[in-house]
């Protein structure tokens, strides 16, 4: 579990109608606070890459020389590579399943008025507020009772559950900006129901779909507690990292790995944000 749904991001500019007056003479307390807060937010995140280049196994000042050897060593670790492959598989499948479920559900919520809509909308958001340990333990018990051994499959089942609220809310905002008469126009011009979906609906919400795929992938890729309970002897990357954290000698490698993951996550999410905005703009 990582971050809230970035839904509000597309609203601010449009609603910033009345601008606060500038008061040049007052000391900008809030701005100073905001900058301090940003430092607090970024400190632990930037620390990992910083010390990943440190030529020493202890994370403390003063720093020793610069080195890339911790990164070089990563490539030699087979268990790490296996965990990476596991995480990629789990992330990709989770993203596909959660986004498909989210696509249909979001369309139903935005387009149709039906009994139980609010109940259903609330239900799919539920995973966001159930403590991870309870989701993890209860799913473990369920899957064992059903005779499903802990494996990547059970991790995927669990990750789809926690990724679904993200997929639904991203797809909902994609459909929110979608004028219903566009579909009626296509239908009116002789297109079939499926053709209308393919030629009109899909292209217009496509950026939302891409954003949802990227976000749900990242949610799954970073998730630890569920994977810890449900992965059995097929660790995902966070589970692998957890096992490495205990060993001080492995610390620099973990830092290097963490830095790479950080970079990948940020790149993925900036891409997702780009697509999400494009979807907001085009509609």
């Amino acid at each position: 579990m990582s971050t809230p749904v970035s839904e509000p991001l597309n609203k601010p500019l449009s609603t910033a109608a009345s601008k606060p007056r500038r008061r040049p003479l007052r000391f900008p307390w809030l701005l100073v606070y905001a900058i301090g807060y940003l430092i607090f937010l970024y400190l632990p995140v930037l620390l990992l890459p910083l010390f990943s280049f440190n030529d020493g196994t202890i994370v403390a000042f003063p720093m020793k020389g610069f080195t890339l050897k911790w990164y070089a060593q990563l490539g030699e670790q087979d268990t790490l590579l296996q965990a990476m492959v596991n995480s990629l598989i789990v992330g990709a499948v989770t993203a596909l399943v959660a986004t498909s479920l989210g696509l249909f559900a979001a369309r139903a919520y935005v387009r149709y008025r039906f009994k139980g809509r609010e109940l259903s909308e609330g239900l799919v958001m539920l995973p966001l507020v159930i403590p991870g340990i309870i989701v993890a333990s209860s799913m473990l018990v369920l899957f064992i009772s059903l005779g499903l051994k802990p494996s990547l499959t059970t991790v995927i089942l669990g990750h789809v559950f926690v990724a679904l609220p993200f997929a639904v809310s991203i797809m909902k905002s994609a459909f929110d900006d979608f004028d219903q008469s566009l579909e009626e126009a296509a239908f009116d011009l002789g297109e079939s129901v499926i053709g209308t979906f393919r030629r009109v609906t899909l292209p217009i919400v496509a950026p939302g779909i891409v954003a949802s795929l990227l976000v749900t992938f990242t949610v799954s890729f970073d998730e630890f507690v569920l994977a810890f309970f449900l992965s059995g002897n097929q660790p995902t990357l966070p589970v692998y990292i957890w096992s490495q954290i205990r060993f001080p000698a492995k610390l620099p490698n973990t830092l290097a790995l963490g830095s790479l993951l950080l970079l990948a996550s940020v790149l993925l999410l900036l891409t997702a944000e780009y697509f999400r905005r494009r979807s907001a703009k085009s509609a």
Binding site: D179, S181, A185, D188, L189, G190, E191
Partner: protein, 366 residues
């Protein structure tokens, strides 16, 4: 113009839960006609249009287009096309692809498709703009693309849902004439839904007025204006003074009545009126009254009163005149000839009216 019927609607009804949106709708439209459904918002006119288009099923009655029963025929199989209120221009396609959207389904071949798209864009004066992005269009251009996209399908009937409501006033007036010209040139039946009486009157061959799910009157604009069937229709189209009158006799299609304030007048019987009773409601359009400081010559009825309000409207001047025994002031509208407001608040004035200007509206509604 042929006289073939293109749309025949009989006994159509539409309910949403317990709410009846359209009840007992009967309407026959001729080929090549420009027809408007006029009414306040929520009167059921859009629902009626959407039932013709096939976006909504009707619960009772039949809809025939070109002689064919439309029951269970979905919107994509009907010989109608629609211009949406929001225009529904596909944002991911350029102008040319928007117009060609429905043609692609007909598998016409590239050359013919392009030719028809070009022709349609020419028609709406957007020739050569095929590659313009949909998101770069102005409101007026969007409206034209929506028209071209529907007309390129060569529908038997073009349906227009409040097609001008998203445009500003000047553009709206220009488009009224342009759409009328286009419709006459193509000879296609247009069915337009609007809440704007002037829009309906300037463009339509006939207008249907709807209230609370019911079609109250269908007539040519000038007949609707001169012979409305009831008080509510009269009040919705143009300004109208309503005056109670006592009928004293009827002879040769004329009602002799004592009209409150104006005295005895002879009123043409209005054949459209549905409700009859001992009391008569007489209607007089504000612009059909003469207003003068001295008693004017040559009128059939007079009223002496006082100006309570005078307002300059540009093309005309509006007065409110009260007199003893009148529950409401009488509105008078005078063309602006000399840029002057001749009567001030508090001035004593005479009003004069001709027999022919008084409209028989039947019994007053409860």
């Amino acid at each position: 113009m042929t006289t073939q019927n293109i749309i025949e609607i009989s006994g159509v009804e539409k309910r949403f839960g317990t709410f009846t949106a359209v009840r007992d709708l009967n309407l026959t439209l001729k080929e090549g006609e420009f027809f408007s459904l006029l009414g306040p918002s929520g009167c059921g006119k859009t629902t009626a249009l959407r039932m013709i288009a096939g976006f909504q099923d009707h619960d009772a009655g039949t809809i025939r287009i070109g002689g064919q029963d439309m029951e269970h025929i979905p919107a994509n199989k009907r010989p109608t096309n629609m211009v949406f209120q929001s225009y529904a221009i596909f944002p991911h396609l350029n102008v040319g692809d928007n117009v060609a959207f429905g043609l692609r389904k007909l598998k016409l071949g590239k050359a013919e498709t392009e030719e028809r798209v070009a022709e349609a864009l020419e028609m709406v004066e957007l020739g050569g703009l095929q590659s313009r992005k949909a998101t770069e269009l102005s409101g007026g251009q969007r409206q034209r693309v929506a028209l071209a996209r529907a007309l390129v399908m060569r529908p038997k009937v073009l349906l227009l849902d409040e097609p001008l409501s998203a445009l500003d006033k000047n553009l709206r007036e220009a488009m009224q004439f342009e759409m009328r010209r286009l419709q006459q040139k193509l000879g296609i039946t247009f069915v337009m839904v609007t809440h704007d009486q002037y829009e309906a009157m300037t463009m339509s061959d006939r207008i249907g007025v709807m209230f609370k799910g019911q079609l109250k009157q269908v007539d040519k604009p000038e007949v609707l204006y001169a012979r409305p069937c009831s008080q509510e229709v009269a009040a919705f189209i143009g300004g109208m003074n309503f005056l109670d009158a006592a009928v004293t006799g009827e002879m040769n299609g004329k009602l002799h009545a004592d009209v409150r304030g104006f005295g005895p007048l002879s009123i043409d019987v209005n054949p459209n009126v549905a409700r009859r009773g001992p009391q008569l409601l007489a209607g007089i359009r504000p612009e059909q009254l003469e207003i003068s400081a001295q008693k004017p010559d040559g009128y059939d009825g007079y009223l002496q009163g006082t100006v309570t309000n005078a307002a300059f409207y540009g093309e005309n001047v509006h007065y409110h005149v009260t007199a003893d025994g009148l529950p409401q002031p009488i509105a008078v509208s005078v063309p602006n000839y000399f840029h002057t407001v001749d009567h001030k608040q508090g001035d004593p004035v005479w009003l004069g009216v001709q027999n022919a200007s008084v409209i028989d509206l039947g019994a007053r509604e409860a």
